[in-house]
Every structure is written in C-alpha cells, then in structure tokens.
C-alpha cells in the first residue's frame, strides 16, 4: 500500500529525514516511535505534502502511484489521512461546513454522489457521538476554543467520515487523558480492516496498549534505526531512547 524508499527531506537547508525505508501492507498497523526531533512529525508532513518540506531524494509509492508527484489535496482524495498533532483552529467556518466540504471533495473524487444535507447531518451526528463529542461541536468554528482532547477527538471524527486507505496519526495520544485515549483507540480499532492501514506516530507506548501494532519502528536522526514487533515498544518504555542511539551508532 505504502512503500517508502530512501526518503530524504529538508526544511530550508536543514536535512530532517536522512533515508527512510518503510513498507506498509494493506491491513497493517505500524507504530513509529522516537525521541523529540527525530523527524516523526516531518515524515507525516512530507507524506501529506506540506509546503516548505523539500524532498531531496527517495521515492514514495501509494497504491502504486507516485505520491510525491501528487498535490496535497490529491493525496487526501486518494485515501491518505493525516491526523494532526496540533489541529488548526479556523474560526468562522463551522465544523459542519468544514466536514461537509471535505467529505464532498473525497466522494467526488471517488465518483460518488455528494450526500444531501440531511443525510450528512445524520452521519456526522452519529460519528460525533461515537467519539464522545456533543453534537453542538458541529456548529462551532473548526476546533475553535476546543480543548486539546476535543481537538484530537475531532481529528478521529474526520478520519471516520473520510474512511481513508491509510491513516497517519501524528502523536494523537499526546496530552490525552485515559478517556480520550480510549476514544482515539476505539476510533482506530473500529476502522481496522483488511484493506486499510495505519501509521501511528507516538512518543509513548501507552497508546499501543489499546491499538496493538503489527510492527514497531524506532526513528532517530531521520532514519529508522530499529524495527521489531510489539515487544520493541515495551522495551523502549523500559529503557528510554538513549540506548538506541548507542546501538545504532
């Protein structure tokens, strides 16, 4: 589904990713862990196509397509979803207007009729309740005045509505209490399917108690320095990240 080979990227003149290799097959859940500044968020930005992140080498195939040649919105329409670590507030645009515009755009790309307002409202309310948010949140400005937890729930709500092929969760767990963490996990687990994959970027292994990954990778200095199964996350929790650097040289 996603095949990253020797991906290198920089911001301005500063190299951040120094050769990432990663293969994600349909149905798999990969966790990417690593210390602050290792390039975890940059990976999500580069894959989603954020301006200012320059790819200097390597390739990314997504469902057989050259992902890096696609515009940001095309990647989203093709089924790539990025849950933001810090979701953006957009006052004046209601959550409902935002969600409808987004779902309409993705459906149009898939050649599906847009949902009428009534059916969409029903669907949005249902998902809203599923992530434990009052439906009032649909009327408020996008993420406007939302608490950290509410913003993250809103990201999961979007993911549920868009039903992506591949979801990248960028530290969605940071700053969450156990309740919100379980909501995020339930959202992901509910969407797990044979043709859908997840890349969970996290600093802590706590979320992985609820979302059991198939693979765990450790990112340091812009490279994946170690890969393993679920037990690697527990080891990291035990020992911290310092030993990785030494082991990887």
């Amino acid at each position: 589904m996603l095949s990253i080979a020797n991906l290198q990227a920089r911001i301005d003149d500063k190299p951040i990713l120094r050769g990432i290799d990663l293969d994600v097959k349909p149905g798999e859940v990969h966790a990417i862990m690593g210390p602050n500044g290792s390039g975890k968020s940059t990976l999500g930005y580069v894959l989603s196509g954020r301006e200012g992140y320059e790819v200097t080498a390597g390739s990314v195939r997504f469902d057989g397509q050259d992902l890096l040649a696609m515009a940001t919105e095309e990647r989203a329409r093709a089924g790539l979803f990025l849950a933001f670590q810090y979701p953006v507030e957009i006052p004046g645009v209601s959550n409902m207007e935002f969600l409808k515009a987004s779902v309409d755009a993705v459906r149009a790309h898939r050649g599906v009729e847009p949902l009428d307002a009534v059916r969409f409202l029903r669907l949005a309310r249902e998902k809203c309740e599923a992530v434990g948010m009052k439906t009032d949140f649909l009327k408020r400005g996008v993420n406007e005045g939302f608490s950290g937890g509410e913003k993250k729930r809103n990201e999961i709500l979007q993911m549920m509505l868009l039903e992506p092929r591949l979801a990248i969760l960028d530290e969605t767990d940071s700053g969450l209490d156990i309740d919100a963490l379980q909501v995020v996990a339930a959202g992901v687990n509910g969407l797990r399917a044979a043709d859908r994959s997840f890349v969970i970027v996290t600093h802590y292994q706590r979320l992985l108690d609820y979302i059991v990954p198939d693979f765990v990778h450790v990112l340091a200095h812009g490279r994946i320095v170690k890969s393993g199964g679920r037990e690697l996350a527990l080891e990291l929790e035990d020992k911290g990240y310092a030993w990785i650097g030494k082991e990887a040289g």
């Binding site: 919105e73 989203a76 957009i90 400005g141």
Partner: protein
C-alpha cells in the same frame, strides 16, 4: 469625460418640484456646498481616496422613476419587515409595505403628517451639523425625499424596518441623495436595515447618502447598512449616530467595493452608560475602491465601544480604513476596543489602515490594533489535507474570516443572506492576468 462641475451639481435638483420645507433645505445646503472646501489629496480625511471617480463621467442627471417589476422582499429571503423601497432615489409606494403600529412612524418625507414634520423639524440635519464633509451638503442640495423613522418612548417596533435603495436606470448616470432620520424615544427599540442594490443592467450612479440616527435614553438600535451595488456605482455617504444615557447601538456596515465607495460613520456617546458595537466588513476586487472612515466620540464617562472591522481585498483593489476613537477629558471609565484586520488575496491589492486612539482622560481601558496579512498557510494546509481543493479552501478561509462578524447578526434571515453574498463574492473570478475589469 470632463471634470466634476460643483456648480452644476449644486443646481441639479434646484428646479425639481418639492414641498416648500424641502426646497428651503436645498437652498441652505447649496450655500454650505459652495462654501465647503473641496477635498484634495492634502486633506487628511481624503488622503487615500481620490475623487477622480466623480470626473469619470458626466454624472449630472436627475434620477427619474421608471417602470419596474421588482420584488424587494426577495432581497433578504425570510425577513419579515416593514419595507420602504426607493428606485433611483424615488420612493415607490407600490413596492413598499408598512404595517401600522401605535407609537411607530415609518414614512417617507413627502408623506409626512404634521406630527412627523415636527419630528423632522426638530432633528433633521442636527447630527450632521458642523461637519466638514462636503458631501453632507451635496446630500442637502439633492434632497428630494427621505425616510423618517420614529419610535415613541417605551415602544418596541414589532418588525425591523428595511429601507431598500435600488439602482435601476439602464442608461445612467443617475445622481441622487439618500436620506434617513431615525429618532428613538426613551427605552424604544428598533432594528433598521438600509440596503443598497442595483438591478442587473443598471447604469452608473452617484449617490450622496446621509443617515442620522438619534437613540434616546435606554433605547436600543440595531443598524445594518449594506452596500451591494454594482461596481460602477459611486457612493459617498455618511452615518451619524448619537447615543443618550444607557442607549445601545449595534451596527454592521457591509460594503462591496465599487468605482468609489466612501462611508463616514460618526458616533457620539452623549450619556453615561451608552454602548456600541460597530462591526464593519468590506470586500473589494478588480480595481475597486472602498473607504471606511469611522469616528467615535466618548464625550461622557462610562461609555463603551467595541469595534471590529475586517476586509478582504483582491486583484488591484484598494481599501482604506480609518478608525478614530476620541476619549474626551471628562470621559473617565471609558472602555474602547478597536480592531481592524485585512486579508490580501493578491500582490497588487492594497490596504491603508489607520486605527487612532486619542485619549485625554486618565482612567480608561482602551486598545486598538490593525493587521494586514495573506491567507494563513497552516490553515490552508489543514484544509488541503482533508481533500478540499486549493481554490475552495481559500474561499472557505476568506468566508470564515468575515463570517465571524456575520455570526454576530441577530436576525437569522439577514445573516443567511450575508453569508450567501460573501460566498458568492469569494467564488467569483478575479482580474484576468494583465487585464482590466469591465
């Protein structure tokens, strides 16, 4: 083509039949007009707004009432209001509809009864008196009719008043005055919508506008002035508001750009406890020019001003915002906030913004600020990652930027109409590269 001829302009309506009192006002105004200094680029209040647009065509033609099939109620779908309709400056009874309510008078000047005349004689022109704005005098020279709103003490107008000014003459240019006087008695309540629109195919126009709004003790006025004329229209208008003790005014000024749109808005806090919220939205594109000059006078203690103005400027258009809040020496415990934010959508667009706080009292709480910026890159990225196309994302962000103010409009029908106008405006194409707007 030719220069704007001030003498011809003054004489334009001199021979037009009108009640004696209107003719007398015209004559007084004519003297004021000939004495008024003509603004130049060196006149501070006109520094960023040239009056060249007045030269661009021979404006000087009286407006005439023509045949017209027009449904003013459709302008704001769902708005249940008393409605007065003027077409090219002429009152049209057959398009208007007012339900009588005890204690409330909604009439055009020419239909004024003796009681109305007493109100007019006691107040008309007073709020605008002493201004150095020459277009107030021009408005007087062209006075032909107008709107009187009077809400008696303790009376709450059951329905909003919707005053519609329609430009229709296809073979413009048409020149006329817009005039309104509202007097709210003690504890009275009224919502007033002044809306300017042009029919498709309407020609050029020059309108000198003047509205005077006197809000009595403890009274509340909602005021919406909506300028949606076609882009060849020229409007030079002024709004004067006076608030008595504990009076409240909530105002939204909404203007699409045009060949020249200049609005001077002046509000005086005359009694302690008076408060106002002045919101402004302006949208300019192509080579349009829009200029909003506001002045708030805190003349007494314990008055409150909250002012938020936002503009979006695209293509080679230009917007001017000058917001002055003047706290007089005796105006202790004043509270005043002024914010002006501008969104530029093109490299050639220009905004001249000047928020001014002039404070002569020492125990006050005041703030002001202005920003001019491009579309926020992070917000745009967020929308793109949700599959929303770049163009649509930009529209959505521009919409959100002004919708924050539209959301403060209490009337849902009016808010819905404004949202539609904003979306429509944002969805239109801009200037073709290197080309001129028609």
């Amino acid at each position: 083509m030719g220069a704007f001829d001030r003498n011809l302009a003054a004489a334009l309506y001199a021979a037009r039949p009108a009640p004696e009192w209107i003719r007398a006002l015209r004559e007084t105004a004519r003297l004021a007009w000939s004495a008024a200094p003509w603004p130049t680029r060196k006149t501070e209040a006109w520094k960023y707004t040239a009056l060249d647009a007045l030269d661009a065509t021979a404006w000087l033609r009286c407006a005439e009432a023509g045949e017209l099939g027009f449904d003013a109620a459709a302008l704001v779908p769902g708005l249940d209001a008393d409605r007065l309709v003027f077409v090219d400056g002429c009152y049209r009874a057959e398009l208007s509809c007012v339900e009588a309510q005890p204690g409330v008078r909604v009439v055009n000047f020419r239909a004024a009864n003796s009681g109305d005349r007493a109100t007019i004689d006691g107040a008309l022109g007073q709020l605008a008196a002493g201004t150095d704005n020459p277009f107030v005098a021009l408005n007087g020279c062209w006075l032909d009719d107008g709107v009187l709103l009077h809400v008696g003490a303790g009376v709450r107008a059951r329905r909003p008043v919707h005053v519609v000014h329609v430009g229709a003459a296809p073979d413009g240019p048409s020149a006329h005055a817009q005039r309104l006087l509202a007097v709210l008695g003690r504890g009275a309540e009224l919502d007033l919508i002044e809306q300017f629109v042009d029919l498709p195919g309407a020609g050029e126009s020059l309108v000198a506008g003047l509205s005077e709004l006197r809000v009595g003790e403890g009274a509340r006025l909602g005021h919406y002035r909506l300028h949606g004329e076609q882009e060849r229209a020229v409007h030079v208008g002024a709004v004067y508001v006076e608030l008595a003790r504990d009076a409240r005014c909530e105002s939204l000024l909404f203007a699409l750009g045009g060949a020249l749109k200049r609005i001077d808005f002046r509000l005086r806090h005359r009694g302690p406890g008076a408060s106002c919220r002045l919101d402004g939205i302006y949208l300019a594109r192509h080579r349009q020019h829009v200029d909003l000059h506001t002045t708030v006078e805190h003349e007494v203690a314990h008055a409150t001003t909250e002012q938020v103005c936002r503009g979006i400027v695209d293509d080679a258009a230009r917007a001017v915002f000058n917001g002055r809040i003047h706290i007089h020496p005796q105006a202790q415990k004043s509270s005043a906030e002024l914010s002006n934010r501008n969104l530029l959508l093109s490299d050639e667009a220009e905004v001249d913004t000047k928020p001014e706080l002039e404070i002569y009292a020492d125990d006050v709480r005041c703030s002001h600020g202005a920003t001019v910026s491009r579309i926020d890159e992070k917000s745009l990225y967020y929308l793109l990652t949700r599959g929303i196309g770049r163009r649509e994302a930009e529209v959505l962000l521009g919409y959100g930027f002004v919708n924050e103010l539209v959301s403060r409009v209490g009337d849902e029908a009016l808010a819905a109409m404004l949202r539609e106008v904003v979306r429509d405006w944002l969805g239109q194409p801009g200037l073709p590269a290197g080309g001129d707007a028609a």
